[in-house]
């Protein structure tokens, strides 16, 4: 990947992280940890990979993204706002009673959201249905789903995985955000789904394992997904929960709590410093 492109993606991701912080801080609630871990892949998807038009968010030939880990809505909203689907300023209305930015993604209220999610395990099935719909219609669009690693504990994920593998849904790419933490603790402390890639391979998926914060690796993973013509692809992405905010990184407590004013200011100062460095 060219340096200028990479830098632009990093800038977008950093701004998305600021959007995440703005949202959860003003809402005094939300899920910052697992939102921050997917900002890089969202930056790549919305800027490089996906064919979407903010002026026509329901275009029938658009690529679809299903945020199966719906609690990372603040990251999705930030990416959509930065792409121009709605004003960035609105991110501060997250979870407010008079806002359209619901705590979990809602396809009827939020421009650019392709599926209402929030109940874990359900988004991947809907993404499978969309990918099948594209195949039945001989349409060329692709479907992306982002899942949490804890979400893999839901049995429905494997019902969907079995079906997608059997139907050779090569237009479907599932991204597994493997930040290794869930509400009650580490994967190992709760109910580890490892080895993840082997499981998807056993369900007849193509798999790629990458560092989810390395844009070169992200690009090659999605290129590998495109190149695979007879299987869906699972990109198992090693990430850092809370990425970009020092005190949130790899800290299980930041799964579902909002920063106070002091913490918010520190986070924004760190992200502003990162942004200044990137833009220098």
């Amino acid at each position: 990947m060219e340096q200028a492109t990479k830098k632009a993606l990093q800038i977008f991701a950093t701004k998305a992280r600021m959007g995440v912080l703005d949202g959860v801080y003003h809402a005094k609630a939300g899920h910052p940890g697992g939102s921050l871990s997917i900002c890089d892949v969202l930056s790549y998807l919305y800027n490089i990979r996906m064919h979407v038009d903010p002026k026509n968010p329901k275009a029938s030939d658009r690529d679809r993204l299903v945020l199966s880990k719906g609690h990372a809505a603040p990251a999705l909203y930030a990416a959509l706002a930065l792409k121009g689907f709605f004003p960035v300023e609105d991110l501060k209305t997250l979870r407010k009673a008079d806002s359209y930015l619901q705590g979990h993604p809602n396809m009827d209220k939020v421009p650019g959201v392709d599926m209402s999610t929030g109940s874990l395990g359900q988004g991947i099935s809907a993404a499978v249905g969309m990918a099948l719909g594209a195949k039945l219609d001989k349409a060329g669009y692709r479907v992306y789903a982002i899942l949490g690693d804890g979400e893999l504990q839901e049995g429905q994920v494997w019902e969907a995985a079995m079906f997608a593998g059997n139907h050779k849904l090569s237009n479907l790419t599932a991204v597994i955000d493997n930040n290794n933490l869930q509400i009650d603790g580490t994967m190992d402390e709760v109910n580890a789904p490892y080895p993840i890639a082997e499981k998807f391979r056993a369900f007849n998926w193509n798999t790629v394992e990458i560092d989810g914060h390395d844009f070169d690796a992200i690009e090659s993973a999605f290129a590998a997904a495109d190149a695979c013509k007879d299987k869906p692809t699972a990109i198992v992405m090693k990430t850092i929960k809370g990425k970009g905010v020092s005190y949130m990184e790899n800290a299980v407590g930041w799964h579902g709590s909002a920063p106070n004013t002091e913490q918010y200011e520190q986070a924004m100062s760190e992200l502003n410093a990162a942004l200044a460095e990137l833009e220098a």
């Binding site: 209402s116 993404a127 719909g133």
Partner: protein, 315 residues
């Protein structure tokens, strides 16, 4: 009114899907390894390229149906009521109800009349579950004619629909000129002393009960309520005003189904006695379907008995 013809509503469902498939190429049919029993196998035979079997995975069935609907298809998703409404309740609620996607759930083998398979498969809770979901239309046809009409109405309706079909062959109540409209009940027989509001296979029983009651000097109005949600408030209020007492009759738990829906309306508008005929708060058991219907009080005799009790309660 009742003719000798008997047909299971699931059979009518399968046939109607084939008819629909011929008219509209956006129709897709999904099943979860029960195509022979739900009768979606008829559609599979006619349109194999538009039939998808997801296997024994009802949660994924509902999610895939939602995803297909989100890409512009009209999706009929089928399984037994126990698994469609029961096992996959939350998928129906969140992926289909909350999204208001164009998924039509064809749930067969509802109620006690599943028969020999017993309680694990006799779903008497599905109406209660499905009607609690905002925006969900809930249909429970009385015979094959009405079942076919429900399928066509569901396809026309923009949004999710739950259709409830039975395994047992039941007597035909309506004729070929029957017109069905979502949300409209219909007076099948006029009466002045009490109204029997019936749904599904209990409609025929209600008509027989009315006949018995007439011989005993009680004039019973019979209302067919094929749409449980949205419930036809007008016909209920009118019935309460004109007859002063109601009896509900359904092959479903007395908790939360038609009985629940009717009492909710009547208590808030024209409070008159409402008695409920249905499966009491118990699980079913194995046995021949018709025998079970009598054992659980789902017959004309029980309806007539309740109707007389309702009349006695009138002030």
């Amino acid at each position: 009114m009742a003719e000798a013809i008997k047909c299971a509503t699931r059979e009518a469902y399968g046939k109607a899907l084939v008819e629909l498939g011929e008219q509209n190429d956006k129709i897709l049919v999904l099943d979860a390894d029960l195509a022979a029993a739900t009768k979606t196998g008829m559609f599979k035979k006619a349109f194999p390229e538009r039939f998808i079997d997801v296997g024994i995975a009802e949660s994924n069935l509902m999610g895939v149906a939602a995803g297909l609907a989100a890409t512009g298809h009209i999706v009929f998703a089928s399984s037994f009521a126990m698994f469609a409404a029961g096992r996959a309740f939350e998928q129906v609620r969140n992926s289909i109800g909350y999204t208001h996607l164009n998924v039509k759930i064809g749930a067969t083998h509802a109620g006690i009349s599943v028969g020999e398979d017993g309680a694990s498969h006799q779903c008497c809770e599905d109406i209660a579950l499905m009607r609690s979901i905002p925006g969900m239309v809930v249909l429970n046809p009385a015979d094959d004619i009405e079942a076919r009409a429900c399928v066509f109405a569901a396809a026309e309706h923009d949004g999710p629909v739950y259709m409830r079909f039975g395994r047992l062959a039941v007597p035909r109540v309506f004729d070929e000129n029957y017109k069905f409209e979502i949300g409209k009940g219909a007076v099948l027989r006029e009466g002045t002393d009490v109204t029997i509001v019936a749904t599904g296979l209990m409609v025929n029983e209600a008509l027989m009960a009315a006949e018995t009651l007439q011989n005993e000097g009680v004039s019973a109005r019979v209302v067919n309520m094929a749409t449980i949600k949205p419930i036809d408030r007008d016909i209920l209020i009118d019935s309460a005003k004109k007859t002063g007492a109601l009896v509900t009759a359904e092959e479903h738990s007395v908790l939360g189904g038609l009985g629940g829906a009717v009492t909710e309306v009547i208590c808030e508008t024209v409070p008159v006695p409402v008695l409920r005929v249905g499966v009491e708060d118990v699980f079913g058991k194995s046995g021949p379907a018709v025998e079970l219907l009598h054992i659980y009080g789902l017959d004309a005799a029980h309806i007539a008995e309740k109707a007389k009790q309702a009349v006695a309660l009138k002030g």
